[in-house]
Symmetry: D3
């Protein structure tokens, strides 16, 4: 269960409201690198957690923190929108070196939200919960969390660089610190679980017969000229999971040319798909198709250029 | 530029076509853990790569491989659909212990695709390219790639477990091996770049003043009763990035209660939002609002219970 | 800021796990009538609230409750999935009167989530935050909230009816009660703001000249035969907002036939769109188009059936 | 069945074409508060209507009107786009106080639509029919309709305020009047059905045992410090539905700490999820898991730091 | 299987980087008229192809080419973004006649991608694979492909017109040529299959009894006044498929007024939906509903204005 | 403007309600091949039509017809749902040879819609208006319309084949006839505009210099081994547009290896992306980057394995 105290986790100040920066901040709320995503991701990982409870508790704790981050950013957007132009007349009157403000802002901040934040990204694309990764595998989830915090920190850094407002820079420096911590935290969970080597390949509980070992540690090359793939740590030495030796070689196809059965007569295909040569319809040779029944005759008739 | 030879990377055989398993396989094609995602993700990372070319080349190589994986899975879906019921009559005629096949299959395999694969997941939700993570930061991208390969391997393992068909099990064992390798490969890129410690926190190029260091290595607790957060590797010892010392403490709010300006009269809000107490409309006290002009009078009139 | 105590708001018990009912429950988590929606909706309304703080505080309070509802439902889904078939072999072995379980369950509960809830609806369509209505107008938001709680209660009632599990029925009866309350609560906010009449039409702050009063209280009829529209409370008596008298009449068009300018030559249209009659190309009469320059000649040439 | 006469319901004039305002108008076409939404919403409510036919007929009538509203707005967009810059050269040549026009317009108006409207919102996000609420419950649908018309009128008012064009202001004043009427109309349907009290809680047909009455009329508080929730009409007096007495109190958790079973060995989880303590792998204590079979041994071996 | 050689199909040069044009180019990558769409569309058509292999091979070949087109455009976007403003300060410093660059660019090019392309359109809406049309019917697919290439060529032409950069114009002229060819190619496939007449109506394999021939070649009119529909080639002469004679006439409804059963008592509807007249609740006449049982009494009581 | 008469265009009868077939019918309502799509597509093409009015009028007429088609299908869905199981108990009681009905139906037909149609496809994915193609180019739009009618007819044929209900077969035979006609109608528009040759390549108004003619009529081969592409009508003879001669040849890359500038120091990349070799951090050679300033030193320090 959850509780609030109505206070912000960290102060949010905007000295010079900037409606265009409000648009940029939306990315940190509703973007795929944003806070709604990590909030829901950690919640769903926690609520579905099977295994040692400390990981569930940590996820629940972090998810609860992330609500406060959305709250800070939503407050920042609302404050940046105070003074935004509500009409083209106002917009022109305020015109400065940067040009029209309406041009650069998310017009829905005026039209839909009445000068407040929305659960959408910097282009107004609403957040979509398919980005909530919760796989039921703790190690896989941790890698997804590190990725989320890494892109989240990159985003926050780019926002920090974009603005000159001291209040905004201060708030972002706080969020950047939390992203640093959470990256470390989720890598620490993997260490707590025995480290990368003990956990890889993820999942580590698949039965051995489910893997074709011959292809598990080899960099395959797909260069047209058959040259080997690029060299690096991935092409030599012990694998990161400690269970193989890296190597590299060009790939040649091992499989067949796919050969699907001809379409069934009652499956909505064209009759021409059931004949072998179709450029000269009069000479068609109907292909064998399951249950083709009277279809062969129908095809002959339909494709006969001399038919009445 | 790209080339094909029409052959499959690895043989695809289906001994006992199963239209319900065809639905399950769709998750590996168009699911968020699937092959379209990694294919496009590695391509966009490669095409936008700035920095040492070997990483770009590796990504390009791997992306090219992933097309062949989609191809294998699409072929597997089409083969599993051969013999699927096209009508309710057929469905009933084929009824077996497992019950209706139409009930369990993706009906769009018949209705939309004519017995072939679609770029959608096991519930028919089409793949959406917002899942293509390419951040411009190589380390962040590598963590996203490891996450994708980890959930991809979990998915492939669950599919392997779900089916009894030897051909399908063989194909999946090949794909599982490649997921193993690619997890290792992307971790190897991080090692090639100097290892986790040299690369964390990601991005490692933000200026020091962009981070509030006080909050960069501390597990904050959000328990209602003020108790500390769960303990583990994340609450003590040197941080994973080697740049701090983990600690833990309960969080208390540092910020204010948010206080947004009252709505502007021309912003489409309710008049009642511009008064202090609204339960007894006759006694309203209009709040100060920028440019409130004659709005105060309008509010008084509108909310006056004795108005004509 | 937010806090947790790890406990459920109300007990969640599942006596007979039912993976198909787990799919149905997803609608209450990630459906448009579900709990993620109201949770985020009330949060964004609160975070953007301008006006009397009591409404913001109430919204914040309710949003915080809704997280606990998602948590209860996610727990219920996970419990219903315990014992679900992981393979076709298991599915067949468990076959009962109800037929295949795999057929009826959300396969992604196995493939993607490892037997846990997802932020998606009963068809696996992920929740999309465009459903979070927060308009900046408190009265409009209250009507949206009543609508959300009304459809939410209808959904919960249908789920209650669908299941026989006493634990699930008990949990749903609790959620149904909360939906009853929240419907009442949001209508009470409107009463607190002076009642429906004082607040309608929403928004009540638009300047009088922004409305064409002639059409503000009349039921217009769009029957082909010019007959009047259906009669009822909406066609006679004082309007609900007390500001007009209802009436009814057939509508006849007041506007023109739309007449857009011909396409500009450099806008990617067909040349044929720039001529008046096109069936007999040799007799084309090019239409006037801004900047048509040499286009007229080009059109004549291109459409000339005798051109070389 | 449906008919047209090619005429507009109300005149659409644009005196000074403004491609940036064309973008804003898109919100009223394809936004969630827009006309496509209400048009389809009323149609689907009508087509699925079960109960007295007058409500179905009214919905059908109103839906038919809404097509004409989309038509008016689409015409307005096309007229505002006449004269829009088609190239960067034109854009610079036209440069005025408001700055670049291309910057502020929806580029897809040029690139995709050839200077015409699209079924998308002001950010180019296409309308998605999940916003069509038709619940099968007439009262719930009416509240959704009032909400749609309230946000629709707020949007139209904001557009009215944004533009200076007399033709556009005239068209919007007509649409605003219709939104006023439709709000009143849908509230009048509720009155026609006996009024709010007779209809709430919605749905009013659930059996009494489906509701836990103890929680049906109480404002629960979720303040961290246990203080009561905000007071107002919702915390005292008879409830709006007349079926209870409002009260308020802090909520304390009534449920347990969720306890999910450990992951099944064949479900794609990590082996570490099946042990009790994982920081010291050598001392792991495997948890009981259904069908754990040889998994315990596998875990011990895999997590043994001294394994070969 | 697939291969790469790391080279571009055609040179990509950008003489004057233009971040706003980079946004426009996104439409050709991730728009519905763009290259990701055709690439995946041709791949899925090929992988699901049933019928003569030459069509599958041609589709596979073309799909492989399209990857190279995405690559060219992604490279073009990245080059156009070099020098883009990363901060508001830089943006103002660079201010030119065209006004703010940040206003006009896709901010996610900075915030999310670090100056590189994304699989999204010019408004930042990610590509969604529901646009991949692969119907299992070769003729239907060919028409979809011609449509895709026609809108693709219109888009490329509009982009060519929009820019002044000689490198970009050169690249686009190449892509425009390929669109010309692919339109011709897919029409040539239809000719190869016997031509339009032999293939229409698509699909041409439906049994005769599945079509109500009376309505197969008549332009029906839906004018309110019963006037005939517009005349043209479609209203007279032999039909394009050669199987009928065009005619035209006004349509009059042939069907009934829809009459759905009243709602079932346990289906979550309102009780008022189960009575015939609801304005005067005391005089309600409950409608017959399947299994209405004690519902009639419940309705009478609930709607009785004198109930206690 | 639009009108209704409440009657169906053609009778809709369901003799044996089948909730699973109701799910299948959804594809024809809200699928990408369905009626909402063509309805809105023709409306938006008409409302944005520039050029001869007869084409606009024809599109308006057809769009108006399509509303009636949605209405017929929505009615058919509602009728098929009468008698659907509302609870698991009912479902089991009704169990027949086909197995569980709940398993195969769209549960949202019960949970969300109360036994009525929804604007979604057979998998419950809501229709998304990005599928409404209206390009501003009449010929391109006609090809899109033919494609829509071709896939629509394939879908209707598959539904006709799937069901045994005579009422449903009768309704579908009517819709199939209309699809036949509309395919012919839109091809007739192209003929009315001068025929395929006069209109291709679409758009036919691009200036000659916008096309690189060398590549406009050649089938390029992308076979790995350099073999020519598949032969057919597309590789020889006069092109379909009559403006070129088909040929074929293997493609060799004409462009460079893409070479993007190194990342800018303030763009959120990794420092390792700014050095030439990164495996041996101590020996790094920083790459030139615009404004690299003190970054070189920072990189050296950060990557120095001996740093304190």
């Amino acid at each position: 269960m959850y509780y609030t105290d109505k206070l912000l986790q960290y102060p949010v100040r905007v000295e010079r409201p900037d409606p265009v920066f409000a648009r940029a901040l939306q990315q940190a709320i509703g973007g795929v690198e944003g806070e709604i995503r990590v909030c829901l991701q950690y919640f769903f990982q926690a609520w579905g957690a099977r295994g040692p409870t400390k990981y569930r508790d940590l996820l629940l704790n972090t998810a609860t923190e992330e609500i406060a981050h959305i709250e800070m950013l939503a407050t920042a957007v609302a404050l940046n929108l105070e003074g935004a132009p509500l009409s083209i007349k106002e917009d022109i009157a305020n015109d400065t070196a940067g040009g029209s403000v309406l041009n650069g802002m998310d017009m829905r901040h005026v039209l839909s939200a009445g000068l407040a934040a929305m659960p959408a990204d910097a282009n107004g694309v609403p957040f979509d919960c398919s980005h909530v990764y919760a796989s039921g595998n703790t190690a896989a989830d941790m890698t997804a969390n590190v990725a989320a915090e890494a892109t989240g920190r990159a985003l926050a850094g780019r926002l920090w660089n974009m603005t000159d407002d001291p209040g905004m820079k201060d708030m972002l420096a706080y969020l950047i610190a939390r992203d640093t911590f959470h990256q470390n935290q989720f890598m620490a969970v993997i260490e707590d679980m025995g480290g990368l080597e003990a956990n890889m390949p993820i999942p580590n509980s698949l039965p051995p017969e489910s893997q074709n070992d011959e292809f598990a540690y080899v960099t395959l090359g797909f260069n047209r000229d058959g040259s080997p793939p690029p060299e690096g740590r991935w092409s030599q030495g012990v694998s990161i999971d400690g269970k193989g030796e890296f190597s590299a070689r060009p790939m040649e196809p091992l499989g067949q040319e796919p050969d699907l059965a001809p379409p069934r007569p009652d499956s909505g295909a064209q009759m021409q798909q059931m004949v072998d040569g179709v450029t000269t319809p009069g000479a068609v040779k109907p292909r064998e198709a399951k249950g083709a029944g009277g279809v062969v005759e129908a095809i002959k008739h339909a494709l006969d250029p001399d038919r009445p």
